[in-house]
């Protein structure tokens, strides 16, 4: 600690006799490791990525607990609500967490390459041997890989708790009352959710994330406006000039999620289907998927290039 390091030794490799073996001096850090630490720093910086889903799950469970307590006291209420029990607590958890996921991806992507410039931290990140490409890819992996995983895990845990509590606390769950959902097989639902997250949200929406990241790298302020207004302008101009809406249809079909999607919630009183190879085949065979991924790659490459030129705002 207090050793003055200014020993004027000629060779940097024999300088301040380090605590560990001075012989081991790796010249480089593997890209995988750079990527790993870049993702960790995203999670440090954006704790809301996992805190918000947890809060939402807690709120959903709290609501469920109140509803369940109510249900177990008034047995009549059980049958009365059976008619419009299209939305079970399990469905409700799905909707709440999926909506959270979509909102979080938008917030994250628009801030990802903007916040590091507005807080001037970009100069610190750029002072370290991490390339712009690794940084941007790590940021893109958050909406495409990390957040779907977080969402899925939180969803499974939330629904698991609901099922457990349902089995223990809800009376007559064997009957076709309001609590019949407790008996329905859960694994097809989980398989469908995972499939939906990975295909539609991760891969089919990838060009949307790419666009948002590019805007966040480029815009000096209000990235949300830069992300949306040009799109709106394009829609309007196309309508006015060509009286067509090709772009609008493109956007809608993109948001629609492409072929091979699973119907959710399933039609009344039908069980959810687990995704099949046919679903996956239709999805992978759709040109829209691959065109979207190519567009995403172009946007990300542009974001890498833009970040290279950018300094603090």
């Amino acid at each position: 600690m207090a050793t003055p390091g200014s020993t004027a030794m000629p060779d940097p490799s024999s300088e301040p006799q380090a605590e560990e073996s001075p012989a081991f001096r790796p010249a480089a850090v593997s890209p995988a490791r750079l990527f790993y630490w870049s993702v960790r720093r995203e999670l440090w910086e954006n704790r809301f990525l996992y805190v918000v889903p947890l809060i939402v799950a807690a709120v959903v469970l709290f609501g469920f607990a109140i509803g369940a307590a109510h249900l177990s006291h008034t047995r009549l209420g059980g049958r009365a609500s059976a008619h419009h029990a299209a939305l079970t607590p399990l469905d409700f958890a799905v909707f709440a967490l999926m909506l959270t996921y979509v909102i979080l991806t938008l917030i994250y992507c628009l801030g990802a390459l903007h916040n590091e410039r507005s807080d001037r931290g970009i100069l610190f990140w750029k002072s370290l041997p991490v390339s712009d490409a690794i940084t941007v890819i790590a940021k893109a992996s958050i909406p495409i890989v990390i957040l779907p995983m977080i969402t899925f895990v939180v969803l499974v845990v939330t629904q698991g708790i609901m099922l457990l509590a349902g089995h223990v606390a809800l009376p007559d769950h064997g009957a076709a009352g309001a609590a019949s959902w407790v008996q329905a097989p859960i694994f097809p639902l989980w398989a469908a959710m995972l499939y939906h997250l990975l295909t539609v949200h991760a891969l089919y929406y990838a060009p949307i994330y790419g666009w948002l990241l590019l805007v966040s790298a480029w815009a000096r302020r209000a990235p949300i406006l830069w992300a949306t207004l040009p799109v709106a302008a394009l829609l309007i101009i196309e309508k006015l000039v060509f009286n067509s809406s090709v772009f609008a249809h493109m956007l809608l079909s993109r948001i629609g999620g492409g072929p091979g999607a699973i119907e959710y919630p399933p039609p009344a009183n039908m069980p959810i289907e687990a995704p099949t190879l046919a679903n996956l085949g239709a999805f992978l065979a759709s040109p829209g998927l691959w065109m979207g991924l190519a567009v995403c790659a172009v946007f990300l490459a542009a974001a890498v290039r833009v970040r290279r030129y950018q300094g603090p705002l």
Binding site: M1, A2, P4, G5, S6, T7, A8, M9, P10, D11, P12, E15, P16, A18, E19, E20, R25, P26, A27, A28, V29, R33, L34, Y36, W37, S38, R40, R41, W44, E45, E116, D119, R120, G121, L123, F124, K126, S127, L128, P129, V130, S131, D132, I134, R308, Y309, G311, P312
Partner: protein, 291 residues
């Protein structure tokens, strides 16, 4: 191999010429101060050296083109760009973890040692630290990197004098050695005069004066002249004359020390005084010359 080698380095922003053909060569083991008024091009030059901005002309840092290979270069170059560029949300342990994770030449134990000497808490966020502590933290991180070139752009801006003194002491005692090179800019010229081995005046994107400290002491002399010798002193063509406490102080360049001794008290001037003299005349000359 030179640490930094530039010829005809240029950078233009729109119609503003930030760097107007700079030639520069920095050898290992030097501490070079870039000194110039605001907007002179110091930060632009530093950004070009760090690969943060594209440039025209030839520039090699440790044998590489910084703009083409910033991430590779950063294994051997460390920099502190300004105070408080550490992200405000970052915790101290996160900074240590991250740099240890991505930097092949980071000695974590050394950084922890430096931090241990301060009152910085391991779990503090940067936003909770005082300005001085942020600089201490950043310096601790940077000094634990076994870099060959350290670049400091106004590292002590906004710090009180105690921290500034500690900053340069730490740099000299715990970091600098013959293999390392430091490039720094600052407004507090007086404080770094004893730190530098070389300095460079930069004005309107050009290098006006480039000088080692040994040369500086031989080249410039400041004389507080006895009133009766004033005419004789002026005859030796001082580059600047000013009044200090009612007595004339003249600044000479390349003057014979022996003759100056006869005129009054001879001292090595401060860089700041020479700066004023040189930049003042350079400004006049370039105005007279037009563009």
């Amino acid at each position: 191999m030179s640490v930094i080698e530039a010829t005809g380095l240029r950078k233009v922003f729109g119609t503003t010429v930030a760097l107007d053909g700079i030639d520069l060569r920095v050898e290992p083991g030097r501490i070079l101060g870039l000194i110039g008024p605001n907007g002179a091009g110091k930060s632009t030059a530093i950004n070009a050296v760090l690969g943060l901005t594209p440039h025209l002309g030839h520039l090699r840092v440790l044998g590489r083109d910084p703009w083409a290979a910033r991430d590779r270069l950063m294994r051997d170059v460390a920099f502190i760009a300004d105070v408080a560029v550490l992200p405000r949300w970052l915790r101290v342990w996160q900074a240590l973890d991250y740099v240890a994770g991505v930097h092949p030449r980071f000695d974590r134990a050394k950084a922890e040692g430096f931090i241990g000497r301060t009152s910085i808490g391991r779990n503090s966020r940067v936003r909770e630290l005082s300005k001085g502590m942020v600089t201490q933290l950043h310096l601790a991180l940077v000094m634990a990197i076994d870099a060959r070139l350290l670049v400091l752009d106004e590292p002590t801006l906004g710090l009180d004098i105690l921290f500034r003194k500690q900053f340069y002491d730490a740099l000299l005692n715990d970091y600098f050695d013959r293999n390392r090179t430091i490039l720094l800019t600052t407004h507090q010229v007086e404080e770094i005069q004893n730190v530098l081995t070389d300095f460079m005046f930069i004005h309107r994107g050009r290098i006006v004066l480039s000088c080692s400290m040994e040369d500086f002491e031989a080249r410039y002399a400041e004389v507080t002249v006895h009133p009766e010798r004033l005419a004789a002193a002026r005859g030796l063509r001082p580059i600047q004359e000013r009044q200090v406490f009612g007595r004339s102080t003249l600044l000479f360049e390349h003057a014979d020390r022996g003759r100056l001794q006869e005129l009054g008290d001879v001292r090595t001037p401060s860089i700041a005084d020479v700066f004023v003299a040189v930049i003042g005349s350079a400004g006049g000359a370039s105005q007279a010359g037009g563009r």
